[in-house]
Subunit: 216 residues, 2 copies
Amino acid sequence: MTTLPGSPYERMAVKIVGRGPGDKPSRRERGERLVMDAVVRVLVRDGLDGLSVRRVATEAGVSIGAVQHHFRTKDALLVAAADHVTTQFKTRAEQRTREAMDQQGATAAFLAFCLLLANAADDDVAPSVVWLWYAAKATQQGPVAHAFATGWSETEQFLRRWIEKLFPDREADLEAAHLLAVLDGLAIARAAEPARMPAARADGIVRRHVAQLATS
Amino acid sequence: MTTLPGSPYERMAVKIVGRGPGDKPSRRERGERLVMDAVVRVLVRDGLDGLSVRRVATEAGVSIGAVQHHFRTKDALLVAAADHVTTQFKTRAEQRTREAMDQQGATAAFLAFCLLLANAADDDVAPSVVWLWYAAKATQQGPVAHAFATGWSETEQFLRRWIEKLFPDREADLEAAHLLAVLDGLAIARAAEPARMPAARADGIVRRHVAQLATS
């Protein structure tokens, strides 16, 4: 596989992915994954008001105690679901941006990342549904708000650094915030109104936004 | 007051506002308003999981029966809160777009509407918080999903018609969806991450997006 070791892109990819390409999930991570998949399914199906340790245990086919061992409160379940889809997102983002980088270069890799963030790259809207509940809960003061704000500030900074490299003539700070607003707005529409915003339509809007960014 | 009776703008304004400028709220509307203000305050403070008929009654200083007379379920409370902030939004949108239209013309009126939709026009993020819970709940099948999708499709169509009139060279359908994504993304950030997205920053992003729309 062609990579660009040590390039700013590579460093950014490692930063957002959080582990190198050779690392494998630990046994503990594999053990938790069964429960976390169930948390995501219950949250997507029943909403935050229907999310409970009991329902997650039933969904995962494990005891209530086994779920409570990891997550004692509804907020902990919500944060776990958000972390879980974020981890899956990062794995996919690493793979897709790397493929696009190898085949078409840095701008294509950037576009691939944006398409994933907008949930425009496939028909499964579950990650956006989780993220939408997470954003709603973050409107209240507390640990969820803090975790959400940290994650989204980092995402904006990540986009900003990429824009600085790819489009040095642009005002990177403003462009990153503008782009992230588009991607968030599309992801919400994908989750709450998939009929108005099918994946193909979101794809077209992301492409035109990035194309405008690339054209001074 | 200078108005443009019969113009496309005027018809659109009446359509979105739902009543003419001379109409006053009925006695029943004034009676419900007390309870609906309380629904919004409880939803913003306690989240959807904390929203209940009992808490709304306490907050409004009325009996549980008085709240149940209007709203029997949590979903009914949520839809009422969304309707309430939408009605307030429409009243403000009518006023601000009319003022901007009179003073600076149609493009300024369009910009004023967009700034309101992004919650970039003032520091009170309560309407966006309500809307974010409403969007999250709309990810589940049911009456909330239907009401949300209908409202947002109408909003996109409203933007599309305005873009057709103001910027006839543009692909109105795509521009409307793109613009609505930006405004939604900003409104979410205003609600969930006001530190990253203060009103002034959202204001700047809306202005630059509309300015790009106006520049072929």
